[in-house]
C-alpha cells in the first residue's frame, strides 16, 4: 500500500518543482511593481497588464521589432534547414556514390563538433565578406543553415529515410525514374514526419539561440528577442523586474505553443534520433 502511494506522491512533488519557476514567472509578470515587493505569493492579488505595455516600450526600439526580427531569423532558418538537410540526407541515406561512407562519417564528426570552436573564424570569415554590421546582418545567422551545417537534422533525416522500404525506389529506378524523380515522388513525400520534426526543432532552437545572435548582432534595430532581453539585466532596479518578466514570458509563448501543438511529435523526435531540446 505504501508503495502504491509513493509513486504518485513523488511524481507530484517533481511536477511542483518543475512548474514552480514557470508559474512564478507568469504570476510575477502580472503583478504591479508594488506587489512584486510586498506579495511573495505565487500569484498576483490584482492582475495588471501594466508590465507588458511598459516592457514593450522600455527601450528606444519596441519589442514588436525584436519579435519581427526573431520571427524572420527563425522562419528562414526553418526553410534553410529543411530544404538543405533533406537533399544531403537523400544523398547520404539513399544514393550510392563514391566516398559516400566517408562523407557520412565526416557528417557524424561535425555532429560532435562544439559550435563555439568555430565562432571566431566564422566571425572573421563573415566579416571579411562584409556581412557583419551591414544593413542586413542576418546573413551569418542564416547562410550556414541553407548549407545543411546543422548535422543533427541531416542525421535525423538519414535515419528516417533508411526506414523507407528500398523496394520503392528500386522499382521506380527499374522503371527508368531518375534519382530526382525518386526523391521528388517517393522519398520526399514519405519523409514528411522527419521534415516536420526538423522544422519544429529548428524553430525552437533558433528562437532560443543566444550565443550566435549575441556575436553577430550589434545594432539595436536588428536585435532579436534574446539579445534584447539581456538589456534588462543592465537595469536591475526594482521597477524593471515586472517588465523584464513580462517580456521574458512573452518570448517563451511561441515555444510553448509549439510544445502544446506538437508535444507528441517532439517527444518522439528525440526518441528516434537522440536529438535534444
Amino acid at each position: 500500500m505504501r508503495g502504491r502511494l509513493l509513486r504518485p506522491l513523488l511524481l507530484i512533488l517533481v511536477l511542483a518543482v518543475v512548474l514552480y519557476p514557470l508559474v512564478w514567472m507568469v504570476g510575477t509578470a502580472f503583478k504591479s511593481p508594488g506587489e512584486i515587493v510586498s506579495n511573495i505569493g505565487l500569484l498576483p492579488e490584482h492582475v495588471t497588464p501594466g508590465n507588458f505595455t511598459q516592457g514593450w516600450h522600455k527601450f528606444d526600439v519596441g519589442f514588436g521589432r525584436f519579435f519581427a526580427n526573431s520571427v524572420l531569423v527563425a522562419g528562414l532558418t526553418v526553410v534553410g534547414n529543411v530544404a538543405s538537410c533533406v537533399l544531403a540526407a537523400y544523398a547520404l541515406g539513399r544514393l550510392r556514390f563514391r566516398l559516400r561512407s566517408v562523407w557520412f562519417a565526416v557528417m557524424i564528426a561535425t555532429l560532435l563538433l562544439p559550435g563555439h570552436v568555430l565562432i571566431v573564424p566564422q566571425y572573421i570569415l563573415f566579416r571579411s565578406l562584409g556581412w557583419i554590421g551591414g544593413s542586413w546582418p542576418y546573413l551569418p545567422l542564416l547562410v550556414p543553415h541553407f548549407l545543411a551545417t546543422e548535422a543533427f537534422f541531416v542525421f535525423l533525416m538519414v535515419q528516417f529515410m533508411r526506414s523507407i522500404p528500398r523496394e520503392l525506389d528500386e522499382a521506380a529506378t527499374i522503371d527508368g525514374a531518375s534519382a530526382w524523380t525518386v526523391f521528388r515522388y517517393v522519398v520526399l513525400p514519405l519523409s514528411r514526419p522527419a521534415l516536420v520534426t526538423t522544422a519544429i526543432f529548428s524553430f525552437i532552437w533558433t528562437w532560443n539561440d543566444f550565443f550566435r545572435q549575441l556575436v553577430y548582432l550589434s545594432d539595436l534595430n536588428q536585435y532579436t528577442v534574446p539579445v534584447a532581453l539581456t538589456l534588462f539585466i543592465d537595469s536591475t532596479s526594482e521597477t524593471a523586474v515586472g517588465p523584464m518578466f513580462a517580456m521574458s514570458l512573452l518570448s517563451l509563448v511561441p515555444v510553448f505553443l509549439f510544445f502544446v501543438a506538437f508535444q507528441r511529435m517532439l517527444v518522439e523526435g528525440i526518441n528516434t534520433s537522440g536529438l535534444k531540446g
Partner: protein, 324 residues
Amino acid sequence: MAAAPTAERPAIARRGPAAPRPGPGGRHRQNLPGYLFLSPWLVGFLLITAVPMLLSLYLSFTDYDVLTPLREVHWVGWDNYRRMVTADPSYWHAVRVTLTFALVAVPLKLAVALGVAVLLNRTFRGVGVFRGLFYLPSLLGGSVALAIVWVSMFNRDGAFNSLLALFGIQGAPWVNDPRWALETLMLLAIWQFGAPMVIFLAGLKQVPTELYEASSVDGAGAVRRFWHVTLPMLSPVIFFNLVLETIHGFQGFTSAFVLSNGTGGPVDSTLMYTLNLYINGFVRLDMGYASAMAWVFLVAVGLITVVLFRTGRFWVHYSDAEEH
C-alpha cells in the same frame, strides 16, 4: 553546431552507418546525382566548417585582433598556448569552473532523469501529461528568458528565499554569492532533466518484462531488480545520455552570461569556458588567443569523449539483439 548552446549530442543511433546494401538497385552507382544532392552540404562543410577550422588553427599562433588586416598579423608561435597554461590565471579558473559544473550537474541531471523515468514507466491515467510537462523545461530552459527568471528566483529577495523564510531560514543571496552562484546554474541544468528522461523512458520500454518476472520469481525485490536488471539493460542508453550531456555540459553559456551580465562573476565563479572564450574573443578582441582556447577546448572535448567510450566498454552491456 549547437545552436542550442542549448544544443549538443552524438549518436548511438539505432544502427550505425548503414552498410551498403547488396540488391538489385545496389549495383550501379549514382555518382552524379549523389554529388549534386550532397553539394549544399559539401559547400557548407568546406566553407562554414573546414576552412574556418584551419583558419582558427592558424590564428591560434598569431596575435590577430580583428582591427588589423589579416595580412598584417604577427606569427607568435606557441605564445597563446603558453599564456593559457602559465600566465593567465582566469584561464585555469574557467577550466575549473567548467569541470566542476559538468562533473556535478551532469550526473545529478542523469540521476534525476533516470529516477523520474522509472517512476513514469507504468501505464496509468495522465502519464502522458506528466511526461510532457517534465519535458517542457528542456525546451524552455536554454533560453535567455528562463535564465533571467531563474536568476531572479535565486536573488536575495527572490522566490527561493521567500520560500526558505516560511521555514524561518535566512537564505544567502545565492546568485550574488561566489560560493553559490555556480550551484544555481547547476540547478537550472538539472531542472532540464526532461530530454534525457524521455530517452531513458524509451530505453525502459525495451527491457523485456520476462527478465523482471524471472527475477521476481527468484525472490528479487524492487531494489535488486533495479540494480541487476534495469541498470545493466539500460546501460547503453545511460552511456548515450552521458556522452550527450557531458558534451552539452561543457558548453554552458547562456545562463552564465545572464547571471553575470557577461562577466563570469561574481568573482569569476560562473566563468564557464565558453564565456571566457567569448570575453577574450569578442570583448577584448583577442581573437588569436581565443582561437587557441577554442582548439584546446576541441581537443579536450574530443579526448573526454574518447575516454568515455573507452571506459564504456567496462560497464555498457549490449544485449545480443543489439549486437546482432
